[in-house]
């Protein structure tokens, strides 16, 4: 009789421990799911795979601007001169967001330099928008110089990252046609051929 009592107590104890464990596990799984949802909402979820850029910013959490009018902006260049997107009305424009610490950005910037010359007859304008946080202009200039680009480099303000729905990653590039519509966008560095294909789309070839 005593043995049965001990056995019953043990079964109850084990049952309670298993129940507590399962409850604990479910709670942690639910917390994990909530955390993942927050990451996606923040737009900070990293690309699941590496190795190439994507032509769809929305897959990285940012809102796609493809087919929409490129948000206007006025920023200062490295000499302190104000530059507005509206200054280039009627021109196809490439807007490339980059940072000095970003290796893939430095890889593709010379390509933009090359294509800005190649498609100059079509009126192509390339604008590089720096995204370094609180970096002095002379250091940004030094970083740009290392890439060998001569197209305008613009200093960021607080609103442009929001208006272009940039995520937490660089580079990001928007290809705008002469009507001001974003015809292509890319996150990360695509191949040089893809960059040129996007530019050709923007210039209407």
């Amino acid at each position: 009789m005593r043995r049965i009592g001990v056995l019953a107590a043990m079964v109850v104890l084990v049952g309670l421990l298993v129940w507590a464990g399962v409850y604990n596990l479910r709670q942690r799984r639910a917390a994990m799911q909530r955390a993942q949802i927050v990451l996606v909402k923040d737009g900070t979820n990293p690309p699941a795979t590496s190795g190439s850029g994507s032509n769809d910013a929305s897959v990285f959490g940012g809102e796609s601007l493809k087919g929409k009018i490129a948000p206007g902006f006025t920023l200062v260049d490295l000499s302190g001169k104000k530059v507005s997107l509206a200054d280039f009305k009627g021109h196809p424009v490439v807007i490339n967001f980059w940072a000095t610490y970003c290796g893939p950005c430095r890889l593709e910037m010379p390509w933009f330099q090359e294509f800005s010359g190649k498609y100059q007859p079509q009126g192509l304008i390339v604008l590089g928008v720096d995204q370094d946080e609180d970096m002095p202009r002379d250091q940004v200039a030094e970083g740009a110089k290392k890439t060998g680009v001569s197209y305008p480099i613009l200093m960021p303000d607080k609103s442009i990252a929001k208006s272009y729905a940039l995520g937490d990653y660089l580079p990001q590039t928007f290809y705008v046609d002469k009507n001001g519509t974003v015809v292509e966008e890319s996150v990360g560095t695509p191949s040089k051929d893809e960059v040129e294909a996007n530019i050709r789309k923007a210039v209407g070839l």
Partner: protein, 171 residues
């Protein structure tokens, strides 16, 4: 005689039952789902557990970190001053004096192809920062920050600071 062997068999039965049930309980109570913290989005996690050192004497402890698969961070000595070096900064540590830091060598990482390629010096996977410390007797906590900047093959993420608490016991 038969009663004795029966009792022994019953005792053995309890042990077998315990051996089967206890791992199930342990699993249910303590299963790990991997890195559940939001630090995951930072692409680097701190792995080290408590270090036990001889109190009052210079000792080396290792801080172990892991970079998420598919990502890399610059080593402590990147080839370009504009790239952000991985570094560990001690924030506070009553009872622990840090005498020096030693970083591992990075691995060569080729970004891009052909003439456009850039050679980087990076940490991937698990890497260890060694600290030379002198700890007082007892349980001590060293607070520090790992600063780094992560990229994959095609994109980079802003510089981040990962706060770490290092448990050190001086004996």
């Amino acid at each position: 005689m038969r009663q004795g062997s029966g009792a022994r068999a019953q005792g053995l039965g309890w042990w077998v039952l315990a051996l089967v049930v206890m791992p199930v309980i342990a699993w249910a109570q303590g299963i790990s789902l991997g890195d559940t913290s939001a630090v995951k989005k930072g692409h680097v996690v701190f792995l080290s557990e408590e270090s036990v050192v001889e109190a009052g004497k210079p000792e080396v402890i290792e801080l172990q970190f892991r970079v998420d698969e598919g990502f890399h961070i610059n080593s402590h000595t990147p080839p370009d001053a504009l790239l952000i070096a991985t570094s560990f900064k001690v924030d506070s540590g009553d009872g622990v004096k840090v005498l020096g830091e030693e970083y591992p060598k990075g691995a060569a990482f080729r970004l891009g192809q052909g003439a456009d390629a850039e050679l980087l010096d990076v940490y991937q996977g698990v890497f260890r920062v060694r600290l030379r410390v002198v700890a007082a007797k007892g349980a001590q906590t060293l607070a520090g920050t790992l600063r780094y900047q992560a990229c994959d093959n095609a994109a980079c993420f802003p510089p981040r600071s990962l706060p770490v608490l290092v448990a050190i016991t001086g004996k």
